[in-house]
Symmetry: D2
Subunit: 309 residues, 4 copies
């Protein structure tokens, strides 16, 4: 991720613009404000604004005036109780606004989360930069043979090189032709005065899905945690998981108590079905249970073993 | 609206808690923060937190780095263009959190707006105060004879006095019995040691719909304007309109350019249907059009006349 | 629950109105259509319309043409897999529309689920019937001493009788005064010609929260299951749980495979946190773990013991 | 749009599957069920299921039992009143499920409407067909010189031919390389046994944005009309407008009264701002008003003149 001099100046200006407020303020998040966190080869996440803190979750749960006089340990305990028991509304009282730069195929997964506000860079209106995602060698994986939507071993040798060459060449050629069809010079004048230039809203269809786009994305903490539970999961595609990891770092700075509760009671938790719980109780009573006698399908049995180790 | 000494102290403490931030900050709204604005006889609205300002709307619309160097007149023009053309997503980039105290029958209308976050005071968990809404004499209106969901003239004389007496006595008696059934003393010990006390979640059913409740309510600016367009309208019930008016004062302090655009292009605007526009063009061409020859129903004709004066 | 002769005739007419369709149709649900299922003393739930069946969930998951040729056992297995792994979108492809009659205090809990469509009977426009919920003796419970939002033992003897008398008398008196303030006779003419009559939108505030209201409520199957997971739970208030139980009977008739998967993987399931899973693995390895050495708080320990028996 | 023999057989089977129902049924929509309506060069829209009809809108508005005995003219009048006065909830009581095949760049605009349920064909799991959108010659437009997100004149001669050649060649080459990187033969065996094959979730990034995808899309009538108001508008991009036009044909068959009200009061309507209404009243009073003396900006003036002709 490289920033232009203009972008660096704008970020510095935004960080220098300081004012006093009596809103809840989180120094650890203020320290991150406006600064891009690099993700993938050209992407980033940066915090534009936020509302609330751990205390705002507690305040909403108590629906009381002000912050009260409870000790921190009690606030943390309340937050952990709320998370454990799926009380969602107090977490909705915190909100964050991010600026994200990401490949279009990642944006297409991301946007399926409908409970957020989005303003995306418009390729009907403006021209997309010549930036596309190319996987690092260690992420250039083969199709998994056991999981139809997973990855297997990393590609090696000639195949890896050829794949990277194809991805790079196709994306570059498509973007070159995009600019050629647009026929717009840097100064806005036509490159070739003899051509009319294709409409931007049409020319964009020639771009490949690894082209980078960007958007402002605003979401409340409950829905952000829901997004992270799905997208920081080991089954999520690596490319979106990389963004989820960056955002976990942000929640850790912003709402440390809620973040830890989320790690304990969601990310690291497991749900056992009624039939699984019946098997578990037999096991804890000392019985040796085999899959065949468990009442679970082979698939469920494997899932349960993965949980209880 | 009276605040207890504890509440006043908490508000003062919240206002004294000041920190530096590089988030967008609005001095006129900071001046209002935490302070209750009185509505009806015991209700209020107070701003707990906010995110964004007029500049955040512009920033989202431009999806660009930072605030740019445009002049204020251009920003205002862009905001007005966005409002006029129903571009909703940039307005979603601002968010506000309010603490509202309101009668239950108003809360039931209010909650029908689903695009907000809510934490309400729980009468399963806690005991509701002995506060209920009684209309001021000038709002004690008769049923409208022409509009099945509207108000007519103000009640007068004996009828007004009797109505107010009934409302006051029934609400008070129901609350007294609520406390009696609960059987909880101020110290948590039973009032009458011989009684078990009815569960709070059941006892509350004895309260009347003018009893006050309270909640934290968080909403983005686009959806707030949608709420205000419906609830600050002359057809809205007076009691919820009183809250809408208070919130209009808040948006004026918070996002003055967006607020003015909302007044010009929503609150004060009118939509003319295709048949109405056909009639209008005939009128502007100098033709005298009567309802019978207009193609409009009597009701539509009346609605159109109300718009074009 | 009593129906008027008019209502019975309308239900019979709706059931007699039969047409041919090539939409997915569920005979077991057709047999229930339009007929009210009694809930509480005057309430009901009845199915007005539905879209989709178990096959529609499978179809959406496969995003393929038509129903395919898979055997039923495979469809059921796929539905169970989707439920177990929290794939929500295929369940969103089924939709149901219910007509519900319920006390206002239950409606206030219910409406907090925002992902549904609602048309409620309007007391601004019409007059509410003289029907209010009175708990059956076995549901007239004392406040729980251990759970601030739960119920304890059933009230008995004089206290039970007095509570019921208060609830009945207050609701009846408030409704009588509501009608008196409205001053509307059965024929629409004023009861007392000397009075103007209070506006309906104001008079309703005199009603108690156990007064019955009604609405049309339309929701997709994913969100219905989410509602049922919360409201059919043992911690939900009995009065809303009674409606949830009735709706579980509806989902069993409508989408039997999804219903069974929901029972196994949601209603009867339990989530164990990361710290709980660590304790569980020690136990399964043969270690005797005490709460003090578990790393769990007393509350978490109790919750875990409740799960693993 | 070509269907395979398998697809045709599945559609025929779905249409032949007939059952009796006492749900509201619309013969004109039954006649369209399951059959694809061609859109663009390879796309389509087809109705999979529906819930409700014009009568269901009226029923919800009346929140009454059954269909009542009102005459059709009154029902139509009520629907028109509801549409004119922006009563949204009765229209939410109808729901439709569509199967849509569309280019990815259109899908990206479409998905911004968040109030729908979506199941999209997954390119993590399956392989996308070799089908991409190429504009018909009359839709191959130049960039507008006056509107940054609009189209100007149609491209002609050599430029048009070159643009089409580029679009066709780039999409084809990218798809060829996609298949080559996947290394999957028709039978699932590797094309080249010496290669591992790139994971599907990665290979898809090489596709161009005019590649076709498909999804099931389910939405209520209120939100469908909102979608159509934006996407059937002359300012919408032609390619999504083509889908909106097909869907207008569907609503006309499904809910003819609501459809006509939508055309009169939304599609063909115009909103005049408070300042525009002030100008209009001066004009109707006989005054000749010039832009300079109108209080409107040049842009607003032009917009008003476009409305009043």
């Amino acid at each position: 991720m490289e920033l232009t001099a203009d972008q660096e100046a704008e970020i510095a200006a935004a960080r220098d613009r300081r004012a006093e407020t009596s809103r809840p303020t989180v120094p650890a998040l203020e320290a991150m404000l406006h600064r891009p966190i690099a993700v993938l080869d050209h992407g980033f996440v940066r915090v534009i604004d936020y509302m609330g803190d751990d205390g705002a979750i507690v305040q909403a749960a108590r629906v009381s005036y002000g912050r009260g006089t409870r000790r921190v340990s009690e606030d943390t305990g309340l937050i952990r109780y709320l998370m454990r028991h799926h009380h969602s509304t107090p977490f909705e009282m915190c909100e964050i606004k991010l600026h994200v730069k990401l490949p279009i195929f990642v944006a297409r997964q991301w946007i399926r989360h409908r409970t957020a506000n989005v303003n995306e860079y418009s390729a009907r209106y403006s021209i997309l930069d010549r930036e596309f995602y190319l996987p690092a060698p260690e992420h250039l994986a083969a199709q998994s043979e056991t999981n139809r939507q997973g990855r297997g071993a990393v590609l090696e040798g000639a195949e890896a090189a050829e794949v990277l060459d194809l991805l790079r060449a196709d994306a570059a050629r498509c973007h070159d032709h995009y600019l050629a069809m647009l026929n717009e010079g840097a100064d806005g004048a036509p490159r070739d005065p003899a051509r009319a230039g294709l409409a931007r809203e049409l020319a964009r269809m020639n771009l490949t899905l690894n082209t980078y786009t960007q958007w402002y994305w605003k979401i409340d903490l409950h829905n952000l945690f829901h997004f992270l539970a799905l997208r920081a999961d080991a089954h999520a595609q690596y490319e979106i998981r990389a963004y989820a990891e960056a955002m976990l770092g942000i929640t850790e700075a912003w709402v440390p108590a809620a973040h830890q509760a989320f790690r304990d009671y969601r990310l690291g938790a497991a749900t056992l079905s009624a039939p699984m719980l019946a098997v578990l109780r037999r096991m804890l009573a000392g019985e040796t249970v085999a899959q065949e006698a468990s009442g679970l399908s082979k698939r469920e049995w494997a899932e349960m073993m993965a949980v209880i180790g």
